[in-house]
């Protein structure tokens, strides 16, 4: 059972046109060809056309989950739509075995002036449930959406979050062989997201899943393989999900230095004595101390000046706040106008990926920010295992086996 391939995608491509007029005319031409039984020329582009997807190739078995990542407009949704049979490929072949279910923002079929309950029946039937099946699942749908109070209110009075909840709740009742998920976790509050994730995990056991998301922690948590799309092509496809995600992050151009604050302090230089000049991006050895050198020019006469160094993870979330061994800000008494700080941290166990460093210099009494420099320094982290978390925490583990009395 574990090795039955449910999705087979072979050299698939899809063409779109830049201009609307051409797009519509090509639509007519394609339709005409299809009616006459003529195979359209697949290899070449017509005027104003581009490949929205090209040479996509993969197979997915039951129990596997493929994370589809890439920038906006990379072709993820186009691929998903071809897999769902909504639009035909312009090249290659797709074979889908089993019932296909799609978890997408499902407020498309809602009628705004009908009540939530009535809309459940409509969306349910659109997704292929019979009236009886919906009746049986009605309780759990309403429960899942957590909107029992408003279920008999017209949907137009729902907030967009509530609408999505309702749509997702209906869709989550499906039990498909192939599940396509497009950015559903981007909406809804935390509690609902957790619910959705749990439901997806349940479905994962018995389906082949394709998961499109921009939220890398979810991708690394859910998927056991990942594909990075760029300009419609497969840039990377591997079961090393962490590596693909790293590549995705690296594809973003490194953030420009950004300076804010009163300007009374300038950051002249941030570097690491560990980096070699030839390296484009300094890669820090996992579980070793990080060393930084920060040169500052101070153009004011506050008595006490403090500094903090923050490290941001590849998702641009703050990961670490660098302080002293006594867990306080590093503060010194101001005397010279130019100072050099040499920092050596405890062993760093951050997750793999490209991290950035912010320097924050402030006046110690009123915590007025004198200078804040973001993207002052970048470094990559080396690691062998992937994680959706920001860092690893080493621990001693012990297991004691209880003796059972039989």
């Amino acid at each position: 059972m574990s090795d039955d391939v449910l999705i087979r995608v072979d050299a698939v491509g899809k063409k779109f046109s830049h201009t609307l007029r051409k797009s519509l005319l090509y639509g007519v031409a394609d339709s005409g060809n299809a009616l006459l039984g003529r195979k359209a020329k697949s290899g070449s582009l017509r005027k104003d056309e581009f490949w929205a997807n090209q040479d996509i190739q993969f197979e997915l078995k039951r129990g596997e989950c493929l994370g589809l990542i890439g920038h906006n407009g990379a072709g993820k949704t186009t691929l998903l739509k071809m897999l769902n049979g909504l639009i035909p490929p312009d090249a290659g072949r797709i074979e889908m075995r089993g019932r296909v279910g799609a978890l997408i923002a499902l407020n498309a079929g809602f009628n705004p002036i009908l009540t939530g309950r009535e809309n459940i029946f409509i969306i349910g039937s659109v997704l292929g449930f019979s009236r009886k099946e919906i009746q049986q699942r009605l309780e759990s749908i309403i429960d899942f959406a957590e909107i029992e109070e408003f279920i008999d209110m017209p949907v137009q009075n729902y907030s967009s979050g509530m609408q999505v909840r309702l749509g997702f709740s209906v869709a989550s009742q499906m039990d498909p062989d192939i599940l396509l998920i497009d950015e559903v976790l981007a909406v809804g509050d935390l509690g609902f997201r957790v619910k959705c994730l749990n439901r997806i995990h349940e479905l994962l056991q018995r389906s082949a899943v394709i998961f499109v998301s921009h939220a890398m922690p979810y991708v690394s948590r859910i998927c056991n393989q990942a594909m990075l799309l760029e300009h419609g092509r497969m840039l990377e496809y591997s079961s090393q999900v962490g590596e693909v995600i790293e590549r995705y992050h690296a594809a973003f151009t490194s953030g420009e230095k950004a300076v804010a604050g009163t300007g009374e302090v300038e950051v002249l230089e941030v570097s690491s004595p560990l980096e070699t000049k030839s390296e484009e991006l300094y890669t820090h050895e996992f579980n070793t101390p990080l060393e930084l050198t920060v040169r500052l020019r101070i153009n004011c006469d506050y008595e006490h000046i403090g500094v903090r160094i923050n490290i941001w993870n590849p998702d641009q979330r703050p990961a670490l706040d660098m302080v002293t061994r006594g867990y306080e800000s590093f503060v010194w008494t101001h005397q010279r106008s130019e100072v050099t700080l040499r920092v050596k941290t405890a062993a760093v166990t951050l997750a793999p990926g490209k991290h950035s460093v912010s320097i924050v210099v402030f006046e110690a009494e009123h915590i007025t920010v004198l200078c804040r420099m973001d993207n002052a320094f970048h470094f990559g982290m080396s690691s062998h295992i992937s994680t959706g978390c920001e860092a690893f925490l080493a621990a001693d583990w012990e297991i004691s086996e209880e003796e059972t009395i039989s």
């Binding site: 394609d30 039984g37 490929p89 997408i104 039937s125 659109v126 997704l127």
Partner: protein, 288 residues
């Protein structure tokens, strides 16, 4: 695991494998039974929920054009061939049937157009949209007919038109034939109409012209150019026969009726096939 349904998407034109095409068509038609009903209920409910006059709106156009033509005729503004039944009855039944044809003709495109966002996001049997549309058309006709019923009963009791049971039973058949004809013509417009708004705009104009070459409110003249055009209009035999059956008259165009119904069948099937084959290509152009 070979019992899993398999669908293959490739460039291989579906029309090259007609057996598979017909199998998928009948599968989807079966699968769309419940869905089309749910969609029709949605449309009918929402159609009238936001209005006070509600179902009465379905009947207003009939009343409007009947009154208009009664006024024009009585005032001597137009000269019409004498009708065998009272003119008011002729017009009212005529407009009710015409309304059915117009709605049936417009509905396929409207209903698919209205589901555009659903089409680009969810894979469901597209047949359901057409079916539900026709159910709504049928429902609207029933509403109009129920409102028309007292008028018919009143005229029948006064003996102003004959009640023939044997022809009356043919009336529902006539109604279905008219609906089928409208569906056949309407279906053909869907593929192009979805891409280009010209179609929807043009049909509005065509319909208002078409009414005057169909014996809806104007009986076919004895002779002349208009008479020829009206006789060759495919709606004429179906609409006129249906009205004759209701009002106990002998239908004039039985040959034309049979021919038109046969053609409607063939065209509906053809339109359905065309829609199936072209649909994915058209959805590709409808955007994300």
């Amino acid at each position: 695991m070979s019992d899993l349904p398999v669908r293959v998407y490739s460039q291989e034109p579906a029309i090259k494998r007609p057996r598979l095409l017909f199998r998928e068509m009948s599968e989807d038609l079966k699968a769309s039974k419940e869905l089309s009903y749910a969609l029709a209920v949605r449309d009918i409910k929402s159609q009238y929920r936001q209005s006070f006059l509600g179902y009465f709106w379905a009947f207003l156009p009939v009343l409007g054009s009947t009154l208009l033509f009664l006024f024009l005729k009585a005032g001597g503004a137009i000269q019409l061939t004498e009708t065998q039944v009272p003119y008011l009855l002729y017009t009212m039944v005529g407009t009710t049937l015409w309304q059915l044809f117009v709605e049936g003709f417009n509905k396929p495109l409207q209903s698919v157009q209205g589901a555009k966002t659903m089409l680009t996001k969810i894979n469901f049997p597209r047949e359901a949209l057409i079916l539900s549309g026709m159910m709504v058309v049928g429902m609207n006709f029933l509403i109009r007919f129920v409102i028309l019923l007292p008028v018919l009963i009143f005229y029948a009791m006064k003996g102003l038109f004959p009640l023939h049971i044997e022809s009356l039973v043919l009336f529902p058949l006539g109604v279905l034939s008219l609906a089928l004809l409208s569906l056949a013509l309407g279906l053909l417009l869907v593929p192009v109409g979805l891409l280009f708004t010209d179609i929807a705009k043009a049909t509005g104009m065509i319909i208002s012209f078409w009414m005057f070459i169909t014996p809806v409110v104007i009986p076919i003249p004895e002779s002349g150019f208009a008479s020829v055009v009206m006789r060759y209009n495919p709606v004429t035999p179906v609409l006129d026969s249906t009205r004759s059956w209701l009002l106990g008259q002998v239908p004039q165009f039985m040959d034309g009726y049979i021919l038109t119904v046969a053609l409607s069948f063939a065209l509906s099937l053809l339109g359905w096939m065309i829609l199936r084959i072209t649909f994915p290509h058209i959805v590709s152009r409808l955007g994300m």
